[in-house]
């Protein structure tokens, strides 16, 4: 029996190319609980395309407040003026402990000095950085909305330049995982977009198991496939548990031992 999962890759909101059945925090909490997920890191969908992340993040944080299993994630665009103030507000008012960026949709390179400034601020505050590598399979995107994934090498370089920054790469492909993790003690990947026969066993042969986090990319993707990658994996229960929740718990405690009272 795999204990309650910690899902590091969950969203709430609307996306113009999909019809999400889960529209509210209550529905999300109920759905995730039914899938065996005890805690989820939840970001808003709209800031991917909407200019000011604060507009929808504020709505998200309010809606999540009644659900202790749903941990809010703040979206930041470091190219926008005022991101420090919005981060400060998210930390103080909404007790946010995780930040996400969308370098491809927000059109910035990870070697931009403004990204370095944000990274240093997150290190100073003990906040992990979630980098959304992609939200869709590039082959299936709308023809007028083609957005390449974030180059894995640039994520690795960012992690190298900021060794105290905890970087979580979300929706990476299997072929990118080794590039992301190789030689870096501060990079993790989630399972949502990684798939091959015997996914978890295979991936554990390619990267250290302690770098693999459970992520479903709900509601873009069905939740159950990610769950079953873990529950049906032919590997030691100890490793399944680490991936399901242990690694995320360890990551959380390393990042902000005093701030993150739940993890």
């Amino acid at each position: 029996m795999t204990p309650g999962f910690i899902d590091v890759n969950v969203s709430l909101g609307t996306w113009p190319f999909m019809d999400f059945r889960i529209q509210t925090a209550a529905a999300l909490a109920k759905h995730l609980a039914a899938e065996g997920i005890a805690q989820a890191w939840v970001s808003a969908v709209e800031p991917i395309l909407f200019t000011d992340p604060d507009v929808h993040d504020e709505q998200l944080f309010s809606s999540l407040a009644r659900f202790p299993s749903l941990f809010p994630v703040k979206t930041i665009n470091p190219l926008l003026g005022g991101w420090r103030a919005s981060l400060e507000r998210a930390l103080k008012v909404h007790r946010v402990r995780r930040v996400k960026i969308h370098p491809n949709y927000h059109q910035f390179a990870l070697n931009d000095p403004r990204v370095d400034a944000m990274a240093e601020e997150l290190v100073r505050r003990g906040i992990p950085l979630l980098i959304q590598m992609r939200v869709e399979d590039e082959r299936n995107q709308h023809p007028l909305m083609q957005v390449p994934g974030v180059p894995a090498e640039t994520v690795s370089d960012l992690a190298a330049n900021h060794p105290a920054l905890k970087v979580v790469a979300l929706c990476a492909y299997r072929g990118e995982a080794a590039t992301l993790v190789a030689g870096r003690r501060n990079v993790w990947v989630d399972l949502s977009f990684i798939e091959c026969q015997d996914t978890l066993e295979t991936l554990c042969g390619e990267i250290p198991a302690d770098r693999i986090l459970f992520g479903s990319n709900t509601p873009f993707l069905y939740t159950r496939p990610a769950v079953m990658k873990v529950t049906h994996a032919g590997i030691a229960a100890r490793i399944r548990t680490s991936v399901a929740c242990g690694n995320a718990r360890t990551l959380g405690s390393r990042i902000a031992p005093k701030m993150d009272e739940i993890l």
Partner: protein, 261 residues
């Protein structure tokens, strides 16, 4: 009973052979399927693109050997390359069906609109078997001659009595489902791309659960994760049973007693 309609044989393309003997390969495939609780697999053939006549025979012989090693759990389709002469293709199809294979698999050697598919489809119709055809709506990375769902619809319109399974629901998307909606002789399998939420329910709503089949695309994909698309979808148990096995059993012509075991 859970039947996976879309499974590729584990092969070494450079060596043009299965990984291991047929018995070893079958055992490896079934061990992985067992972990996910999948009872039977339909093997599609094709280890490398554009095989010639000798290559086609080699592929189909390998599929037959796999199926014969575990006839209780493995079924197979005859793979064909429609760029080859029709006389050869039809003779090879008869050979494979007579030997126990259950239908035909076509990939992207030729687009589904191409008239070279017509004699194959006539034979498929005459023999009462089915065709499983690759399809995908790709924004980038489309292969030469690769079919999209509108091409499958064109094929279905030309051959209204032929049973056609369009591969890769989640890669064909809503547009692909709408393309084939009006063709009652077309089914779709659940494999393809990522497990985009709501697609199985959408296909069931538009096509009916009788026209949706569980397919994994293993070993490119993970049996368990692919099964999760269907297990995690909001369906009635009757719909889920049809998708996971009932519909495939009818196409593969498995007997009812076998199905209940």
């Amino acid at each position: 009973m859970i039947i996976d309609i879309h499974v590729h044989p584990p092969a070494v393309p450079a060596k043009r052979s299965l990984i291991g003997t047929p018995g070893e390969t079958a055992a490896r495939m079934l061990a992985a399927a067992d972990r996910a609780g999948i009872n039977a697999l339909c093997i599609l053939g094709r280890f490398w693109p554009y095989p010639d006549e000798e290559g086609i025979r080699q592929i189909n012989d390998a599929t037959l050997a796999l199926v014969r090693s575990r006839p209780d759990r493995l079924y197979g389709l005859c793979f064909l390359n429609p760029t080859l002469p029709a006389r050869f293709l039809l003779a090879e199809l008869d050979r494979c069906l007579d030997a126990g294979l259950r239908g035909v698999k076509l990939e992207y050697e030729v687009n589904a609109r191409d008239a070279r598919l017509d004699p194959i489809l006539k034979k498929v119709t005459e023999r009462g078997v089915f065709l499983l055809h690759h399809a995908w709506y790709k924004t980038v990375g489309k292969c030469a001659h690769e079919s999209d769902p509108s091409d499958i619809a064109h094929l279905a319109e030309r051959h209204p009595r032929a049973q056609i399974v369009m591969a890769h629901l989640t890669a064909c998307g809503m547009r692909g489902v709408l393309d084939i909606q009006g063709f009652e002789n077309v089914w779709v399998d659940t494999s393809g791309s990522q497990p985009f939420s709501g697609m199985v329910e959408y296909a069931v709503n538009k096509l009916g659960s009788d026209r949706v089949l569980f397919g994994s695309d293993a070993p490119i994909r993970d049996f368990a994760a692919q099964l999760g698309r269907v297990q995690g979808a909001q369906l009635t148990e009757a719909q889920r049973r049809r998708i996971l096995g009932g519909n495939a059993a009818r196409l593969l012509k498995l007997d009812a007693g076998r199905l209940s075991q």
